[in-house]
Each structure stands twice: as structure tokens, then as C-alpha cells.
């Protein structure tokens, strides 16, 4: 397992409020990692920084074997480097079909003229079928994404991430609002995805994280409070104090 992404000494503040405070973090490939923390711990800001939405005030973020810096790259460049992101609220393109949603995410050249003269290929179609099967939406391919249930939308978004073939997948609260059966399936998807790539899951639900069975990083006030197995962090007195004890 080699280090894929490394953040060191990253800080960012909004109007004087330090959302991220001298945060250091690294993840290897392949690896599954869960991030927990109380509200306002900086979990979403953490993702915003990695994906280029928020520029940090200080610190370094390096990526890949060549340790290139992600600072100063735009959101789309970072996405093309191989970082995919799933938002808290399912964000799929509701006015388009499941197939169109997946086709847009498929790993292909992203320039306007590449897209304008894009020809559908059998390979691409097969890939879409394969992903649809993985996320249990094979029969829903011709349907509008807006017609799907909440859980199915979440899966479609995960499917879009898989279609991007990212090396690092950032997933924000994937199990929110899901039924127990849906949760189980989502867990399976994420564990599978993490066999070949790095996956970071931000989640509130302890039970869900326990089922992921991976290393856990606890964030608090923009810094890492504890890191280790779920049993290790849940027995940490500091963690109990700020998060679990409430």
C-alpha cells in the first residue's frame, strides 16, 4: 500500500473562524477509511479542500506517485486527476435518464470538442451495463433519474463515481435516509470499491462505520483527534468526551 494523498499542515478559516486547523491526513491505495466527527468538525470543508472547491490558507496537499501538488488546480482538473466526490444530498441529473447520467461520468476525454463529436462505443455501452448491475439499476437504465427512489439516487451517484474510475473516492454520508436493507447493500458497494482504490467515507452513523470494518479518523474542531480501528477510537476518552458522550 503506497500513499496516494497526503495533506500536511492544512489550515483554512472563514471570516476568522478556523474551519480546518493544521490538519494532516494521509491515505493509501487501496484503502477504505471512515471519517467521523461532531457537527462543525470540518468534515465537509475537508472534502471541499481536497476537491478544489475551497482553497486552503496554508499547508500542502500532494497526490500520486509523483507527489504533484493539488493546490491551484481547478475542480475539474482535480476530478480528471482521479478524485471523485459524492455529495451528502444525492445530486444526479434528474431530468436525464440513468443511462445518460452514467454515460456522462464514463472516463473519456472531457473537452467540449471531444464531447461534441463523441461516438457511442460498444465498450462504453458494456461498461454502463456492468456498472448498472453493480449498483442494482440494470432495469432502470432508460428511466429518468428523477423518478428513482432516494436510495436508488444515492446508488446512481455511486455508480457515476465508479464510471469515472477515480483512484480516490470521497463519499459524504452515503447511508443517510436509507432503509436497513439499502444500507447493507451500500456497505457492500463501498467495501468492493475499496478493494482497488482509496475510499474515504464521511458518516455519522456508528453502526454503519462498524460494518465497514476499516480505519477511522476522528475530526474535531478542524484537526485530527484520534485515528485507528473503530474499537480503538470509541474507547479513546477524548473521543468519548467530544463526540460519543453527548
Amino acid at each position: 500500500m503506497s500513499t496516494l494523498l497526503e495533506m500536511s499542515g492544512v489550515s483554512v478559516s472563514f471570516d476568522g473562524f478556523k474551519a480546518i486547523n493544521n490538519l494532516s491526513f494521509q491515505i493509501g491505495e487501496p484503502e477504505l477509511r471512515a471519517i467521523i466527527g461532531p457537527n462543525g468538525a470540518g468534515k465537509t470543508t475537508f472534502m471541499d479542500i481536497i476537491t478544489g472547491k475551497t482553497k486552503p490558507d496554508e499547508g500542502r496537499i500532494t497526490w500520486g506517485e509523483k507527489n504533484i501538488s493539488l493546490l491551484g488546480k481547478s475542480e475539474s482538473q482535480i476530478a480528471r486527476e482521479g478524485i471523485g466526490r459524492k455529495f451528502q444530498k444525492p445530486t444526479v441529473f434528474e431530468a436525464q435518464t440513468v443511462r445518460e447520467n452514467l454515460a456522462m461520468a464514463l472516463r473519456n476525454p472531457r473537452g467540449p470538442f471531444d464531447v461534441l463529436f463523441y461516438k457511442k462505443t460498444q465498450e462504453g455501452a458494456d461498461r454502463i451495463e456492468a456498472i448498472a448491475e453493480q449498483i442494482g439499476l440494470s432495469d432502470a437504465l432508460p428511466r429518468l433519474a428523477g423518478e428513482l427512489s432516494h436510495g436508488q439516487k444515492q446508488w446512481l451517484e455511486i455508480g457515476m463515481l465508479l464510471a469515472q474510475e477515480p483512484r480516490l473516492l470521497l463519499v459524504d454520508e452515503p447511508a443517510a435516509g436509507m432503509t436497513p436493507a439499502e444500507r447493507e447493500k451500500t456497505t457492500e458497494m463501498l467495501v468492493n470499491a475499496a478493494k482497488t482504490r482509496a475510499v474515504v467515507v464521511v458518516e455519522h452513523d456508528m453502526e454503519f462505520i462498524r460494518r465497514l470494518g476499516c480505519r477511522v479518523t476522528v475530526l474535531c474542531e478542524g484537526a485530527v483527534l484520534a485515528e485507528g480501528s473503530i474499537d480503538h477510537v470509541t474507547s479513546d476518552p477524548q473521543v468519548i468526551d467530544v463526540y460519543l458522550g453527548r
Binding site: 475539474s76 434528474e94 454515460a103 464531447v115 469515472q164
Partner: protein, 393 residues
């Protein structure tokens, strides 16, 4: 999956067939080439309407599909008109000047000819020299190039600055209004080099075609406008279908999400904005020779707002909707404002439609936005739905 693009989009063939039929019928009924049931001026109105349909289709792509509410596309239309108008005025004045100088004892020098042309064109604003803006006005190919280049470059630079700074939504609309207002105010100045508020006139007289009666010319322009609309329609149908259409509709619905998919959203917006501006320029270049005159009032901010109204009434996000909206509103507008609708005398007040038409249009816009967001194009869905039900039964 590999069926041809036209086979996958039957509505394009329907549109082209109807457009062809329309052009044929108007030709047969025209004064110039047919039985004379449609006056030359009405043929011109129809030809102009086709040009307006073309810019409305462009507006639908930029607004209805890509979600950029540009309230400045009429500026590009006007620029196209000015670009072709410069050649039309120059070339026609040149023939007049050459004819009047021909019977002089000493043949005129090129400088004398050029000075005479300049004072003919610019006498009205008190100037007698050709501004450098007119450097290419003698050449039709160069001015035709300007029809495409000037709107294209303006849109490219404006769009690059605006999209790069992530100006979106209502702020972008205001910015585009400012652009068209600034351009119009600049052109109103006498020393702008484009004859101030007089604009360019006499554009209906095509140089070298003095022998062709206006009745015939009007039909030719109708054909050219129909051809341009057909080509533009197919082009935009191609752009808005397939994966490109998928991406630009996605940008309309959630541009941040598209960025995280790895697409450089700004490039796509710039592409759509510039392409539609170029088509708007071409539409303008065909419109103004039929109108006969182009002046700065044409590109006042209100013109671009009308454009948005046509598209909204016709139904955003479908190309034929833009055409339906434009035809419906412009023809109805010329009926109301041209004295076609009888005034209503209420005793205490007389409703004159020339004044009240705008109120009516405004109400229609509000009603469509509130109660029928799909506009006139939504009727096609209803029809399709009814047919599908019949087929099932």
C-alpha cells in the same frame, strides 16, 4: 445505437418539411414570383420572421439548454446587420458616385472617388472621411467574414471574462444587458463611425442587382432566410443531442456537480455562448437587408428581452418551441400594432391596441411562466400524449 442522427430525432425532419412547405407556398403566392396573393412587404415580414426564428433558436440553446439567461444576444444580431450593411451602403454609393463622375472631362482619381463616397455616406453626421472601421467595406467577402468574426470575438472575450469569474444567474443577465446597452449608446454617437442614430439605410437595394425588382429580391431573401434557419436548426439540434446535449443540460441543472465530474464548465459555456452569438450575427445579416435599415435603437436592451419572451412563450428547452414562440408573438404583434385589431370603445375609455399590445404581451408572459412553463411547445406533448393513449386503447 448507430442509427443516423436524423433518424433518432424525427422532430428535425418534421420541422424541415414544414419549413420547406411554408417557403414553397409563400413563393407560389408571392407578388414577385407567384400569383400575387402575398404582397412584397408581407413576404419581407415573413422572411424577417424566419431570421428572428433563427436567433430565437440560438437563444433557446444558450438559455433553455445551457441555462445562461443572456439578455444581450440581440447585440450580436445587430452587429451582423451593421457588418453586412457597411458593404451594402458602400458598394451602392460607389456605383452612384462612379456614374455621376463618369462624364467629367478628367477621369476622377481613386482618392476623389473615395472622398466622394465618404461625403455621401457621412455627410449626414457632418464628416467627410471614411473611418478606419470601414477599411474592409469595399469587399463583400471581407464584410461577410466580419459578420461571423465580430460577434464571435466579442462573445468570446465577454464570455471568457464573465464565465471565468463564475458570474452566473441574474448577475450574468445584468452584465449582458449592460453590454448591449453600452454598444447601443456607443453607436448612437455621431463619431462612432457608423452614422450615429441615422444608422445604415437603403439596405434593401442590393448592389449589382438594380435590375431585379424588390418583389423578386424579397422571395430570394425568404429562401436564404429559410435555408439559414434550416442549417442553424440542424446544427443546434446536433449540438443539443447526444453527449454534448447531456453535458450542457447538466450544466443548466447543477454546474458544480458537472465540475466534479471533471468537465471544465467554463469552456462549455463559452463554446455555447460564442456559437450562438455567431449564428445570431448571421441571422442579423439576413434580417437587415430585408428591413432596409439598421440603427442603434435595434440593439437597445429591450430587444434582447423580447427575445427571451419569445423563447419563454414558445417553451424553453425544445428548438421548435423557440420557433413557435417567435412566429406566434411577432406575427400577432404586427397584427395588433399594425392596426389589424379593431380598437375597443368602452365609452369612458378607448382601448388602442398599439398601446395596449405590450400590456397584453406582458400578461401573456406572466401567465405562461406561472401556468404553462412548457409554453406553446407543451401543446405538442399533450398531442403526443393523446395519441399514445389512443394507441393503447
Amino acid at each position: 445505437m448507430n442509427r443516423s442522427f436524423l433518424a433518432r430525432n424525427p422532430s428535425i425532419l418534421w420541422f424541415l418539411a414544414l419549413l420547406g412547405l411554408f417557403t414553397l407556398v409563400v413563393t407560389v403566392l408571392s407578388e414577385g414570383l407567384g400569383v400575387g396573393m402575398i404582397s412584397t412587404s408581407f413576404v419581407k415580414t415573413l422572411g424577417k420572421t424566419l431570421c428572428l426564428c433563427l436567433i430565437a433558436v440560438a437563444m433557446d440553446v444558450v438559455w433553455g439548454y445551457c441555462g445562461i439567461l443572456s439578455l444581450g444576444h440581440f447585440a450580436f444580431f445587430g452587429i451582423g446587420g451593421y457588418a453586412i450593411g457597411m458593404w451594402l451602403m458602400y458598394a451602392r454609393t460607389e456605383t452612384i458616385v462612379e456614374r455621376s463622375l463618369a462624364n467629367q472631362v478628367i477621369p476622377p482619381t481613386p482618392q476623389e472617388v473615395s472622398d466622394a463616397i465618404a461625403s455621401q455616406i457621412f455627410g449626414v453626421v457632418g464628416a467627410s472621411e471614411l473611418p478606419s472601421l470601414w477599411a474592409f467595406a469595399h469587399s463583400l467577402p471581407l464584410q461577410l467574414l466580419m459578420v461571423v468574426l465580430v460577434p464571435g470575438l466579442l462573445a468570446l472575450v465577454f464570455g471568457w471574462l464573465a464565465f471565468r469569474s463564475r458570474v452566473t444567474g441574474v448577475y450574468l443577465s445584468i452584465l449582458t444587458q449592460a453590454m448591449t446597452l453600452a454598444l447601443s449608446l456607443y453607436l448612437f454617437q455621431n463619431d462612432s463611425g457608423l452614422r450615429g442614430n441615422n444608422g445604415l439605410s437603403g439596405l434593401q437595394n442590393i448592389p449589382g442587382m438594380g435590375d431585379v425588382p424588390q418583389g423578386v429580391l424579397s422571395v430570394w431573401f425568404l429562401w436564404a432566410s429559410a435555408m439559414a434557419l434550416a442549417v442553424g436548426y440542424v446544427l443546434f439540434a446536433f449540438v443539443t443531442s447526444g453527449k454534448m446535449g447531456s453535458v450542457i443540460r447538466a450544466i443548466r441543472d447543477d454546474e458544480a456537480r458537472v465540475r466534479f465530474l471533471g468537465y471544465h464548465v467554463e469552456s462549455y459555456k463559452l463554446f455555447v455562448f460564442t456559437l450562438t452569438a455567431i449564428v445570431a450575427g448571421i441571422a442579423g445579416a439576413l434580417y437587415y437587408p430585408q428591413a432596409g435599415i439598421v440603427n442603434p435603437a435595434e440593439i437597445a436592451p429591450i430587444a434582447s428581452i423580447y427575445l427571451a419572451v419569445w423563447v419563454a412563450i414558445g417553451g424553453r428547452g425544445r428548438l421548435y418551441g423557440a420557433v413557435m414562440g417567435t412566429v406566434f408573438v411577432t406575427l400577432l404583434s404586427s397584427w395588433f400594432t399594425g392596426g389589424g385589431a379593431p380598437d375597443i370603445d368602452l365609452g369612458f375609455y378607448r382601448i388602442q391596441w398599439t398601446d395596449w399590445w405590450l400590456v397584453l404581451l406582458g400578461l401573456a408572459f406572466v401567465a405562461v411562466t406561472l401556468f404553462a412553463p412548457q409554453g406553446l411547445g407543451g401543446l405538442v406533448n399533450k398531442l403526443k400524449g393523446a395519441r399514445a393513449k389512443e394507441a393503447k386503447a
